[in-house]
């Protein structure tokens, strides 16, 4: 075996060093590439995200397995009855959610209807929960129903601001006594002195007890100055009477039922142009179910946003009828048609004159 000289050994060492450096470089490059690829893969994987609980609007399609969300109540009830409330919670993200609570409220978060624990909701899945609400002791009237997911804040989510939903329709808890509301409308918007107007009053009993035909009138409308009753009055139930300028009604309205009154009045022939004539009827009803009318309520004009406001008309002398959709003017001839007609008549006239003259000759 031949021994290497000092110079030859130095050359070999240099080569060895370079080879080691090259290998280390390759390892570093490969390792870096692997790390980068892994990080990239992690970034693209949606299942690495956090969960996102939300309450999709009622009827939202496209939930997992073709599901459709439900955010509903079973509907209006009499006080003391139970209401079924169904809510859907969806996990919008693909990150799994751990255990959390779903809570349902009425009229804000200070009135809890009920709370349920969900043991977890995998990514992209949804769950539907049912709450039964006993309305015993709940105030009568309309209530707004609110449902929220993760009320304890146990789940860290991508979006924490979409966890609640207000159910579209308010829930009416009806009293176990009559609850009366009434509207009064007037036909048209064009009123001349001497013309007849028609009023329609609809009275509803939203309560869970019948409104009886108690002593005294259930409805009374005193026509104001400028209007005179014509005597025409009809009702879908009970008895309507016109006495002078007073129209009154006596009768009963079953729970959940309604009655419609129609009566006519004539605008005074001396009414001034532009004057406004307003009035309201008054309903008298039994608010505690003891057989005596102890409450009263004015009629509402549904044509305005205001509550319990009077129904009005404005006298319009010589005014044009409001334009109707689909109304046309129907002149017989246009200008050119008229010119053509004149020419034809003149021509026909001359023709007949000549013809008669020739015939005679």
């Amino acid at each position: 075996m031949r021994c290497l000289s000092v110079n030859e050994k130095e050359v070999v060492r240099v080569f060895e060093r370079r080879r080691v450096v090259r290998r280390i470089g390759m390892v570093l490059v490969l390792g870096g590439a692997v790390v980068l690829a892994s990080l990239s893969a992690m970034a693209d994987d949606p299942c690495m995200k956090l969960p996102d609980l939300w309450m999709p609007a009622d009827g939202t399609q496209g939930l997992a397995n073709g599901g459709i969300s439900v955010q509903q109540t079973s509907g209006d009830v009499c006080q003391g009855d139970t209401v079924t409330i169904t809510v859907t919670v969806d996990n919008l993200s693909c990150g799994d959610a751990g255990p959390f609570y779903v809570t349902v409220y009425y009229d804000g978060t200070s009135h809890v209807i009920g709370s349920k624990r969900v043991e977890g909701l995998p990514g992209c899945e949804y769950t539907t929960l049912t709450f039964v609400w006993d309305t015993d002791g709940v105030p009568t009237g309309e209530h707004e129903i609110l449902a929220c997911a993760d009320t304890g804040g146990a789940v860290t989510e991508l979006n924490e601001s979409n966890n609640c939903i207000t159910i579209d329709e308010d829930l009416l808890v009806r009293p176990n006594a009559p609850l009366i509301e009434a509207e009064k409308t007037i036909d048209g918007e064009w009123y001349e002195p001497g013309s007849t107007v028609t009023f329609e009053v609809t009275i509803w009993n939203y309560g869970c007890d019948d409104q009886g035909d108690n002593s005294g009138h259930e409805f009374l409308d005193t026509l104001p100055d400028g209007l005179n009753a014509t005597g025409y009055a009809t009702a879908t139930g009970g008895t309507i009477t016109v006495d002078g300028d007073q129209v009154f009604w006596d009768g009963s309205i079953p729970a959940g039922g309604s009655v419609t009154l129609v009566f006519k009045a004539r605008i005074n022939s001396t009414a001034e142009d532009g004057s406004e004539i307003c009035n309201q009827g008054i309903i008298y009803w039994d608010s505690d179910g003891d057989g005596t009318n102890d409450a009263s309520e004015p009629t509402d004009n549904p044509g305005t946003g205001a509550e319990d406001d009077p129904t009005c008309l404005t006298v319009d002398i010589g005014g044009e009828a409001p334009p109707l959709s689909g109304t046309i003017d129907a002149p017989t001839l246009s200008e050119w048609g008229a010119i053509l007609l004149v020419i034809l008549f003149v021509g026909a006239f001359l023709f007949m004159i000549r013809r008669k003259g020739l015939t005679a000759a």
Binding site: W190, E320, A321, L324, G326, T327, I328, D329, A330, P331, T332, L333, S334, G337, A338, L340, L341, V342, L344, F345, A348, F349, L350, F351, M352, I353, R354, R355, K356, G357, L358, T359, A360, A361
Partner: protein, 180 residues
Amino acid sequence: MKTVKGRPSLFPSSLQKWPWGSILTVGTTVAVLVLIVNDEGAMQWIQTALATITAGILTLFGHAAVVAGSTVQTDVFGISVVTACTGLFTTGLYVIAVLAFPARWRARAIGLAMGIGGIFVLNLIRLVSLYFIGVHFPGVLDLAHQGIWQAVFIVFAVVLWLLWAGRWGRARRPASKVVS
């Protein structure tokens, strides 16, 4: 002796003989028509009458129509009977033509009754048909209104007058023979 031949006149001698009476008649008729058209009360009465009768016919056909002013209206469509809808211009022209044409007064009365009545009835048919076209075929309403009905109106008035003039118009009297 030089004989001067007169040029043949465009109008027969009968026309040359009666223009003063005709001019007076036409002038009076035009004046009356202008008075009627400018009398708001008279026009309102005519329009309301036409609208009321149209509404009655529509009601007979099962479309509960009411009259607001001079507008016939139902829940779905309405026709506003303005002055030009009354057919007054067509009727006026027809009346002038009848009165200006040489005829006996009895024949003129027949002509006026035929024309005024006929144009009035035709206008009612027009209004009712326009209502139904507006309700059921709104796409052809303009064509029917501005095209077809206008042409029908013009042709009807002229043809009616021609028929009357041909049947009741007075021919020129033949020149009386001089027997020497």
